[in-house]
Every structure is written in structure tokens, then in C-alpha cells.
């Protein structure tokens, strides 16, 4: 059901946690590498042993600033740290070091492609702050254990919490936002945003605005939805939840404020949301300033220095590719989604061969296909942009038809050689333009009936001339032959 057809307006805000790409944890030197055996990446500090103290990871702080700048937020010149106190076995200190009243970044926005394909939608950011992750608690149903098992490898990993304004208007928009955020954070080298590995987690706050007869609307109670494990799950969960809330409203008439905020978990198997007992019932986190960490101040110079490391961001790159190389928004999306190195490859290729659209087709189809098949990154791809450009120039110049060019391309991939070398190896003889012309002149002269048909408007008749040309010389470029013959015929009349 599209937005226009629903009997209600959906209001969604997201709370996203991303793990930062640092080598070590936020407050200690333990590795943040994913997948290690339980409790092999811990130390007295992240275990929260008696007497230990935290010390801030400089890179984590800088990545947080980078993110805030990229999201067009206001970076706090003075940041402080606070303790969020609650009890849970995966939180060994009994408190989480986070930021409460002075987060590192306030405000900002991320523009995402509009659902209807026209332009962009601006999604507001409320705040971005830095905090430490908790460990993992695992419940082994199979073994019928009465215990939960606690692994502290993850405890102390740096997290960025990004809270959006409730600006998202549909579950699809929510998914788009996450996709765009992931792209941005990948480009910034801030986070992998890989939900399967847990480096991105998202909770959603959703409610409905249901129009009333007098032109006003009534808001339903806000529900927090948790436990969504993929971007698609986010879309499905929120779609389900929106409809559920509407039905609930029709049944109970509950408005915002009538009942306390509910937490519901998404059940991937059953494809429904279920009420969840919140971890800390009516949580009183007793925030107070973290005495073990001194504040952080940042000067204008430092901010500019960090701003200079952002690099060109996805939205800018898309625009630039479209204007500079005359390609479509879709094309630029595909290219940008592959990362900076791929963008660089494309640009060099487009410049080298002089045809942005052709370059775009080739990278999206041939190059990307090959990369996927061979599980290569663009950095590992054996055909340099310059070499591929040479090949494409030959296609543009008529020396090779597309079919042959693909063969040459395949050879270049296998042999890591230039276009010229590949052509030679394959024994493709390039027919030069002069010879081609002479051939065409001969054929035109020898086929007056075909010429007459073409003149009469039957363009397809030219196919016979092309067929004859091929028989005479298998190396001809059929498209070029067709062009030249048509040109000759037109000149006649």
C-alpha cells in the first residue's frame, strides 16, 4: 500500500547504533576484531575489575566528529562523558560510559532519495554521541540450559548512537535511510554497518497520525520496535507494526499519552511484533558526569583538519557523475554504491574512453559481473581503467563491435594484458576504415534492389548487405558497415 492509499500517516524515528572501525576498544587496548572465541579479547578494564580506569581512544573520538560533520550537525566544542547506571550481566561495570546532556553532535540531516523517485527527502538528526558497547549474553535453548552465557569480547567496543527526528514517513523510507547511512559511513570509513555482524543495530519508534473528521488528526501511542536483524526486516517489521497499530486504534481508541510507551520485538520467524518486557523496568539511569574521564575540547583548527579528511561524500559524487559524465541517477547510484575505489575506476575509464554512458554500462555489466563472479574487489581487478579505456575507444572508433569487444575483455581479464595484446592473441584482425568503405561501396553498387528498398523506407533491408559483408570478411564491424552503407545510399539520392 503506498503512502497515498493508507488511511493514516506513519511517523518513524530511528535510533541507530554503529560500531566504529577502530583497531582497539573505546577505553582499553583489546582488539575489536569480530568473531573471536568468547572472552579472549578482554582485559581488566573492559571486564570492569576493581580498580581499573578508562582512557579514551583518540581515533574513536575523531570518527565521531567526522560523522557529525558529514551529517551536517553542530559539533560540540566541549564534550563530556556521563555514566548511565543500570544492572545487566553483559554490562560488567554496572554502568555504561556514554554521553547524556552534551553529546558530541547535535542536529544535522541526511538527504535520502525520495520514494517517488523525484528528488530527495531531508531526514533530520537529533543527536549523535559516543558510548561503549556491552558484551553479549547468549541463551542456549538447545542444551536446555537454565543459564545464560556471557561473552565480554564486545564489551567496550566504541559505538556511535545516531538518533533521527521522527521524519521518516514510511517503512520503505526507513530502509532507504539505513541504506544511505550505511553508504555514508562506509565512505567515511567510520563503520562497516554490517547488521549480520552486529556492527549496525537499529531500534525504531513508530506511531500513526490518523486523520479525524474535522481535518485534525489523532496520534497513537508510540511503540519502540526492537530485534530487527536486517534492513529488509526493518521494512517488514514497521509495515506490520503500522497496520497493527491502526487495528489496535480502531479497537481501543488509545491515543498518545493514554498508555505508557510499549516495547515490542520483531519475530522474524512469525513475521509479527510481540510485546517485550523491557530490560530495565521504568529505568532510572541516574546519569552523572563520569569522574574518571576528563572532558574533550575541540578547536576550530582541529575541526577543519578533520573536515578535510572527509573526502567527497556519496551524494556529492552522485551529482558530479551525473553532470560530468551525463549518466542517469540510477547509473550513478550503482557506481557510488560500490565504494570510492570503484568510483575512481569509473571516472578514469569515462575520461579515458570519452563516453560516460558507455563507460557506465561496461562497469555496471561487465566489470561488476566479473568482480562478483571472482569475488574480487576493484583493487584486485586485473584490467586497469586505462586498459579498458583503450578497448572502449576501439569500440567507439568502430574498430571492434561489441560482441568482439567482450571477447577481448574476457581475454584481458584472463591474461592481465592490454587490449592490443588481447586482440592479437585472439587473432582478431581489425579492418581499417578505408577497407571497410571500399567494401561497402562495392556492396552498394552490387545490390541495387536492396538500395531501392532502403530508399523506399525499408531500413531492415540493409541487413542483407551486412550479411554479405560478414561473409566476405568475418572481422568487419556489422554496426559500422550498416552505418557506412546507409550513408552511401543516402548520398545517392
Amino acid at each position: 500500500m503506498s503512502m497515498g492509499e493508507r488511511p493514516y500517516k506513519i511517523v518513524i524515528g530511528l535510533e541507530v547504533h554503529v560500531q566504529l572501525l577502530t583497531e582497539s576498544k573505546l577505553f582499553c587496548g583489546c582488539s575489536t576484531k569480530f568473531g573471536a572465541p568468547p572472552n579472549t579479547q578482554t582485559c581488566p578494564v573492559c571486564i570492569g575489575m576493581p580498580g581499573v580506569l578508562p582512557v579514551m581512544n583518540r581515533k574513536a573520538f575523531e570518527l565521531a566528529v567526522k560523522t557529525g560533520l558529514a551529517l551536517n550537525g553542530e559539533i560540540a566544542r566541549f564534550s563530556k562523558w556521563d555514566r548511565k547506571n543500570y544492572y545487566y550481566p553483559d554490562l560488567p561495570k554496572g554502568y555504561q560510559i556514554s554521553q547524556y546532556d552534551l553529546p558530541i553532535c547535535r542536529g544535522g540531516y541526511l538527504d535520502i532519495p525520495a520514494e517517488d523517485g523525484e528528488g530527495t527527502r531531508r531526514i533530520g538528526i537529533i543527536r549523535v554521541h559516543l558510548e561503549e558497547d556491552a558484551g553479549k549474553s547468549m541463551h542456549d535453548e538447545k542444551a536446555g540450559r537454565a543459564d545464560s552465557r556471557i561473552d565480554l569480547n564486545r564489551a567496550g567496543t566504541p559505538l556511535l548512537e545516531i538518533v533521527t527526528k521522527p521524519d521518516l514517513r514510511s517503512p520503505t523510507e526507513a530502509k532507504t535511510f539505513l541504506t544511505e547511512l550505511k553508504l555514508l559511513l562506509n565512505y567515511l570509513e567510520v563503520s562497516d554497518c554490517n547488521m549480520q555482524e552486529g556492527s549496525l543495530r537499529v531500534d525504531a519508534n513508530i506511531n500513526l497520525h490518523i486523520p479525524t473528521d474535522d481535518g485534525q488528526y489523532v496520534a497513537t501511542p508510540i511503540v519502540e520496535v526492537k530485534n530487527m536483524n536486517s534492513f529488509r526486516a526493518v521494512e517488514r517489521a514497521l509495515t506490520y507494526e503500522a497496520q497493527r497499530q491502526y487495528e489496535a486504534f480502531l479497537e481501543t481508541g488509545h491515543k498518545l499519552g493514554d498508555v505508557p510507551k510499549q516495547t515490542r520485538g520483531w519475530d522474524e520467524d512469525a513475521q509479527i511484533t510481540r510485546p517485550q518486557r523491557s530490560k530495565e523496568e521504568s529505568s532510572d539511569y541516574r546519569y552523572f558526569p563520569e569522574p574518571d574521564l576528563v572532558p574533550v575540547t575541540i578547536t576550530e583548527e582541529e575541526l577543519e583538519r578533520i573536515r578535510a579528511t572527509l573526502g567527497e561524500l556519496p551524494a556529492e559524487i552522485r551529482r558530479r557523475l551525473q553532470t560530468t559524465y551525463q549518466i542517469t541517477a540510477y547509473d550513478s547510484d550503482v557506481i557510488v554504491n560500490q565504494g570510492r575505489a570503484f568510483v575512481d575506476y569509473y571516472c578514469r575509464l569515462a575520461q579515458g574512453c570519452g563516453d560516460g554512458k558507455m563507460a557506465a554500462n561496461w562497469v555496471q555489466q561487465d566489470v561488476l559481473r566479473t568482480l562478483n563472479e571472482r569475488q574480487w574487489t576493484i583493487a584486485q581487478f586485473p584490467v586497469s581503467a586505462d586498459n579498458l579505456a583503450e578497448l572502449l575507444r576501439k569500440v567507439r572508433g568502430g574498430e571492434l563491435d561489441t560482441a568482439k569487444a567482450r571477447m577481448v575483455f574476457a581475454e584481458m581479464v584472463e591474461q592481465c594484458c592490454s587490449a592490443g595484446e588481447a586482440i592479437q592473441r585472439l587473432g582478431i584482425v581489425q579492418v581499417d576504415e578505408g577497407e571497410l568503405r571500399r567494401l561497402c561501396e562495392e556492396l552498394v553498387a552490387a545490390n541495387p534492389r536492396v538500395v531501392a528498398e532502403v530508399k523506399a523506407g525499408k531500413d531492415k533491408a540493409i541487413g542483407s548487405l551486412v550479411g554479405q559483408a560478414k561473409k566476405r570478411n568475418p572481422n568487419i564491424n556489422p554496426a559500422r558497415v550498416k552505418e557506412i552503407c546507409l550513408e552511401l545510399i543516402q548520398r545517392q539520392s
Partner: protein, 97 residues
């Protein structure tokens, strides 16, 4: 400033303590008296006074993003009251994800 038994019970839960009825009584009285004394601070005019959260004046203390050797798992778990060979164990937390 008199505390009710109910408030004491609420604070005890927040502090993850469990008090016997006698302790609740005793605590209500003792804490009540102490809090009464704390009310002395209301005499002080702190309008426009910045809180002093840190005795040291400096800021910006960092460590570099370098990996250091973690504790051997056996050593890390050595003090754990209840464990299996890899993890700490606690009574099952329902609704775990």
C-alpha cells in the same frame, strides 16, 4: 526530610539490595537523619555557580588506537563465581537476544 518505607524499598531495588524488615526500619531512620543534615546545603546560594565535576583542570587525555595483548581467557575467568569453559554463567535472562 523523612523517607517512607516505600521509598526505601524502591531505592533498595534500584541499588540491587534486599533489606530485612528490621534493616528497612533502621535504614529509614538513619538515612532520614542524614538527609535532614544534607538539607544544610540549601542555605548556600549557588546561583550562577558552575559545578566542579573534576578537581583537575586539564582536558583531552587520549590513548592511541593500538591493540594491546588481552588477558588469557583462563586468567580472565579465573575469578568468576560460576562459569563454563568459555563464558560467565548467570540464571537465564528471558527474552534474550
Amino acid at each position: 526530610m523523612s523517607l517512607t518505607r516505600q521509598e526505601i524499598e524502591k531505592v533498595a531495588l534500584l541499588a540491587r539490595l534486599i533489606l530485612t524488615p528490621e534493616e528497612v526500619d533502621e535504614m529509614t531512620g538513619q538515612l532520614g537523619r542524614v538527609l535532614e543534615y544534607m538539607a544544610l546545603l540549601n542555605e548556600v546560594d549557588t546561583e550562577g555557580v558552575e559545578p566542579l565535576a573534576h578537581a583537575v583542570e586539564f582536558a583531552n587525555v587520549f590513548r592511541e588506537d593500538r591493540v594491546e595483548k588481552s588477558l588469557d581467557r583462563e586468567i580472565a575467568l579465573a575469578n568468576a563465581p560460576h562459569r563454563d569453559d568459555e563464558c560467565y554463567l548467570v540464571p537465564a535472562v528471558l527474552g534474550d537476544v
